[in-house]
Structures are given as C-alpha cells and as structure tokens.
Amino acid sequence: MTFRVSTDMERCQGHGKCVIQCPEVFDADEQGYVVVRAGEIPDSLRAAVERCVDDCPEGALGVT
C-alpha cells in the first residue's frame, strides 16, 4: 500500500528538518523549500513521514 504527502507551500519556510530526517521522501529546491520526491509513498515509510509531519515547525506537511 501507499500514501501521499501534502505540502503547504504558503507555510514552508525551508527549515529543512524533513529533508534531514527523511531524505527518501523529502528534498529541497534551489531556494530551500520542500519538494516531495514521489507521488505515491510506500507504507514502509509512513512512520518516518509522520514524524516529519509532527516535527515541522511551520506545520507545512500533511499525510493523506
């Protein structure tokens, strides 16, 4: 099974904590803002991604 990650680009300020904690899923663009590497993410990464969602200082990430 897979799941999707939502990003609120109005909120993301490029803290980059998600990129450090879960580089399999998150990357940063030239300006430093979050980029999600794939649309469908395997459930094996769900716990790691949920930690990033909870840890985002701006509340810019979600799981759908």
Partner: protein
Amino acid sequence: MGDNMDTTTSRGPGTGADPAPGIDMHFDHWSSKMAYSPYDVCVRLRNECPVARTDKHGGFFVLSRYDYVFAAALITETFSSDGDGLGVAIPPQDLRPLYPIDLDPPYHTRYRQILNPFFNMRTVARMEDSIRGLARELIAAFPASGVFDVAAAFTLPLPRRVGFQMLSFPEERTAEVSELVEAVMSNVVERQGAAAPRLFAVLSEILAERRAQPRRDDLLDTVVFGEVDGVPVDEKQSFAMLILLLMGGLATTSAALGVMIEWLADHPEDVKRLREHPELHNLAVDEFVRYSSPVAHIGRTVMADTEIDGCPLPKGSRVLLGFGSANRDDRAFRRPDEVLVDRQPNKHVGFGIGPHRCIGSHVAKLQIKVALEELLAAMPPFLVHDHGQTHWVGSESRMIDRLILALEPTP
C-alpha cells in the same frame, strides 16, 4: 534594582481585579539580567502576564508564550517587521533598514530570493569538509590537559572563520570586523555609539574593493551586484545586507556552540549517550538550538489595532516576540528547561518562525553538528572548571564569550 529589572506585575495570584495588565512593569530586554539568566523572568511572564507591557525604551509589549509568539510571527500584515521604517529592533537602531530583516513580504521575499541559493541545504552541505577541517584545526590546538577558555579556542573562532570564508573576506580584516560587529550587537548604547560608524567605514571599504573587482558570482558579489526586480541593489542596501549577515551569522552560532559545550561538560551522561548513538546527533543539534535560543527576541510593530489573549494592542505599538521564552514554554515542550538530546517532535522557534526564518540556519546546524562530532571524537573527559568565570554578553542575541573548561589527561 540595579539593572532596572523589576518583573512585578499587576496580575499575580491573589491581586484580585485585573487592571491594565503589566502596566507597572519595567522589563528591559537589554539588561544584563536578560543576558545572564533570563528564564526565571520569562516563566513569570508566561504564567502571569503573557501579553506584558513595559515602560522601557518608549514602551512596548512582550509576548512570552509559544502560541502567541508563533501567531504574531506569522501574521506579518499586522505584526510588521518594516513598521513604517522602524525595523525590528527595540529601540529602533540607527543602522536601518537592514535588508531583508526589516522588510515585510513581498519585498522581503525578493531579497531573500537572491540570497537563498547560497544558504540552501545542498549548497551548505558542500561546506561540510571545510567546516570539519576548521573544527579539527581548532580542536587540535586545545591543550592536552588542564584549564582553558573554550570560547576563545573554539566557539568564537569557528563561526567567524566559516562566515568570513563564505563571504571571502580579506583575512587581515576579519578580527577587526568581528570585534566591531560584536560591539554593535552587544548593547543598545554601543549599537548607536562609536562602533557603528567604524564598522560602516570598514565594511564600505570592503564593499568598494569588491565593486572594483571582476565578478565572481559568490555571496559577496550577490551582496554587491545583486538585482531585485531587475534593479541592482544600491550601496546602502549592499551595506545593510552585509551587516545583517555578519550580525546574524557569527555570534548566534557561537551562542549555540557555547551552551552545547557547557551542557555536555555538566552532563557527561549525555556525552556518553551521544558517543554511543550518532543517529541522535541531528535531533541533538535542534535541541541545543532550542535550549540555547541564540536570538532571544526580535521586535515588530503593530499596523492595525488588534488583541492577543484579550489584551488590546493598539496600532503603532512595538511588540517584542520572545523566541527564547517560547522555547522554554511548558505548554509547548515537555521538561523545557532540560536538554533532551532525542527530543522529537521539537517544533522550536530557535531560528524564528514564518517568512523571517533564519536564512543561515543550515550553516549554523552544520557547524553545530560537525562541532559535536569532532568534540565527541577528540575530547578527553571535560568539565566546567569554574562556572563563576562563565561570561555572557548580548541581549537580542545572547552568547557565552568565556567558558573555562578543565580537561582530564588521557591515560
């Protein structure tokens, strides 16, 4: 009190009626109390007067709870960094506006956009080897045993060397520039006093030299030749960007490094744990930033009548956002006054929050991480030799500039 520090409020338990909250308060964020030991004051504010008002520096409000600091930092239309030209310092400083900290979106964003490419994670990650080399060089010069000042030997020079390397500053100017930047930052009197014009003169010279040289398209070139909306920045803007990079990038990282080393010296159990669990280092870095809160507070100006927690904030009010206090708020953090090296989540506001998030946060975090790794690898058992000699400076940005360690000789 000697330092104008009086935190009595009109709102203590048992005082009954609740007249204008905090009206008799004389909180001064520039006092040495707030440099040395701010957190008892912060906890009193959070518990008894979370939207406080002080009569110092022309009068301003102080937000101390995490939720209120967070909210105000995000509502940039109401809580303005520009503030019709006042900027973010309380009281307003002569050197303003500083680009881009004293601007609001969308103008703020355009200046950030030209600087961001030099500070994004991937660009910064390429600096790791060079930062590690500098850290190793400094650590190799520590004495093998005995007593020494780790601030002078490590926490002050590392961020300076990294910062001046990023800016490709002429080597012979760096000592003078560091000292002047620190003088300008360390108190509100000096900031408006003798050091500022000297700093202006030295930096203007460095900028003029660069302006006359062939383009290199590095960070300093962007400060000198950058274009915003197709218009080249002028000399005043170049200067304002450069001084902000220096003010933001040197002492702040030193602050986090100093507090980290002090904590580890006092808590050998965490040294042991971090040695055994390198996978915790990234979390520990954020935790040291939360715990040290190098930028303790930054101001805003209220652009339209508003209220927080039922307390009216009239248009034109100055407001201090207490990032350091927010980071110790037990409403947001469990055991806030301790370093928990595996704290997660850790939604600290140590780099600020919202569009003004510290542009150098990745450079800072990489330095802290590399420093942690290299100190863990190289240091014999260490402790603070004399806490009585630990010296703090600053206010808006507060740091340890003397920390006397004792090393135990390795067998």
